[in-house]
Symmetry: C2
Subunit: 133 residues, 2 copies
């Protein structure tokens, strides 16, 4: 399996944890580095694992949180750092995300996430969909 | 000068080119890699230098484009890859940006930019401001 595929696998694990509201899995996906950052749509950046995980606990604990589907992820690997661009479909709304991963302890872990409002993808090839839910 | 400072310098050069409407400088700031990506607020991702530079030519050629100021940039360096989070102030609107750089040909060059709407920064310490214009 190429590093790109492993990065896409880590990215899929992030959205699987998100969709499954699995806070333990979400904690495993994020790196242990001090400098983690996370920008939820329209919000200021959260810095450090404590702040970032607090936000995920609130999101995942909310039974009103809508389902999320990751669409057309594309990975780019630059040595021990990689990033994925993908759409996030939340009901009829689309966001676009930048997810940055580092190779840490033999696997790819998330160090930064930014999601912002975007138009729907023009083409949504079935073969590239990662339908999480 | 530390690598973090050099990354912040490259980030400042990006906003200086933006504010000065300097398309040649903007072209130098972006990497030569095929896989460049750029996400303007609310827009789909642009892929490859040709698409990315076409968008910048349109933005920089527009005399109605408002002034932009980069605020409170923070750099994180992971080997030959680095990323900067910063606010972009465009008149009274704030965006937040993720700018990813690679070390290429002895300097830091941009390979990815995503900007999205954000609330104003809560604290704007004068010492950290990079006022481009």
């Amino acid at each position: 399996m190429s590093e790109s595929h492993l990065v896409l696998f880590a990215n899929e694990a992030f959205y699987t944890a998100f969709a499954a509201r699995d806070i333990a899995a979400m904690g495993e996906i994020w790196s242990e580095r001090e400098s983690l950052t996370c920008i939820h749509p329209g919000s200021p950046p959260l810095i450090g694992k404590k702040q970032v995980m607090r936000s995920w606990r609130a999101i995942l604990a909310n039974p009103q949180s809508p389902a999320i589907v990751c669409r057309t992820p594309k990975a780019r690997v630059c040595g021990d750092v990689a990033y994925v661009l993908c759409w996030e479909q939340i009901e009829l709304t689309f966001l676009i995300a930048t997810n940055i991963f580092v190779h840490e302890g033999g696997r790819w872990r998330l160090i930064h996430h930014q999601a912002g409002v975007a138009p729907p993808p023009q083409d949504l090839p079935k073969a590239l969909e990662v339908v999480v839910q």
